[in-house]
Amino acid sequence: MDRTEERQGLLSALPVALVLAAIFLAPLLVVALFAFMPPGSFGLAHAPTLENFRLFFAQGYYSSLLWSLGMAAAATIVLFLVCYPLAYGMAKVFRSFTLVITLLVVMSLFVSENIRLFGWVLTLMKGGLLSGYLKAWTGLEMDSALYSVPVIVFGLVYSYLPFMLFPLAQGIAMVPEDVRLAASDLGASRTRILWEIDLPLAMPGIVVGSLLSFVLSAGAMAESKLLGGQTVVVMADEIESAFTYGQNWPLGSALAVILILIIGLLATVALAKVDLDGIMGRRR
């Protein structure tokens, strides 16, 4: 490791690091401090208290947290099952079609999440695209498919598909073909190759994809609001209403701190197990 490279690294890291310190770390610090202020206060000049965390248990906010985490877990499992065959196809089977999938999936990300979810509302509502044309063409009545827990999970799966698909495809592409061939020559069945070679060797991609899907789903709000109506109130929604309708910044901060701690813990544990340089394609 030579001195110039050491200095160049530090210097080029500086702009991003300073910006993130000022607009990411500092705000988080403010939230963390506010979480220990008395409920309803708007300044930081009070004696610290744990009252907000007591309210989390006393007023049933934990059930929102459990809903968020539960639906995120469900969405992550469904996403893995839905994306695995496609990611496998992209990494090992398709040739130019992989590029088409990549482009179209990335492009869908550029349509605001709101607009896409609203499109599902128009599709699934009573008298919407699906039920309206079904009735007009076949006479069959169909109830609204909206406002239930499964449809919220569907919304999460839909919104975060790219975040599972791409890391997964990248992970599967890292499985060396000759190892699979060797296993196959030695008589291993397809299932055995999947369990003993593909899945373990693609693990970095699986971990990153699952982590992203879970974390983004756990902090999501638009899916449950637009597709779920009043079915469940998720954690991000509770945080927002504590800040807006409730005008209770300390409570909102405490709820945010709880969510952030869970997500941060998961991210740290998972990222510690993954070789980042490897998955991003370092050549050396």
């Binding site: 160049q8 080029s12 991003v16 993130l20 709101n114 196959s184 991000a236 910044w249």
Partner: protein, 264 residues
Amino acid sequence: MKHAPLTRAALLVYGILVLVVLYVPVAAIAFASFSKARYLSFPIRRYTTEWYERAFDSSTVPELVSTSLKVAFAVAVISVVIGFFGALAFARYRWRFRGLFQKLVLLPIFFPQAVLGLAILMWFNALGIVPTWQTAIVAHLTWIAPIATLIIAIRAYGFDPALEEAARDLGAGTWQVLREVTLPLLWPGIVSAGLFAFLLSWGNFPLSLFTTGADSTLPEWLYAKMVSGYSPLVPSVGVMTVLVSIVLIAGGFAFVWGSRRRRG
């Protein structure tokens, strides 16, 4: 490993199916935007382009477009500039705190965006800054600058450091190496990072929600209309925001394609 033609075909059909599902809602909105009825219901009986004309004539929509464009442009420029250097520190140079720096860059991406927006609102409040569209730029940067850094970093991982060393051995200074070797090599990554940053900011809602103050971006306005009852302007304005994205993506492709041809 060889794949049976049947497996190949099945996977291909599955892939097409996923892509179709991905675009169903966009198609539904495009379809709905031409319905004449004030209260939308399918099947559509009479078609019209009235809502597009209304959107153009209204005073709010052009204002929303200009706010969103300003924010997205500023976010893209700042993200790319700091992301370029950040990517070198992330992927290219070996230095002591690289691991820590990589985690700092990745962390915001994993954060719930609405919570990030609220945190920034509180931070500005503590500093005594009144939120406007300029503060929304800051909010977008927390999430989008790291993504731009990552995109350029992927490109930086792929290039051979020997090229830079060769230039240095031939007598080029630090800035000259950066300008004449590193920058051209990373150029495709920089263009796609800029495009990504612009489009992600253009479509972003959760980060804008709490940080624009009295100003409003397009996605915010659309969301407000969606939850407060139906407005026939929602689908048409939604379609127009999608069209802007498509035009930009096409422009980006044309640029990359053109620069590849120029180089032969």
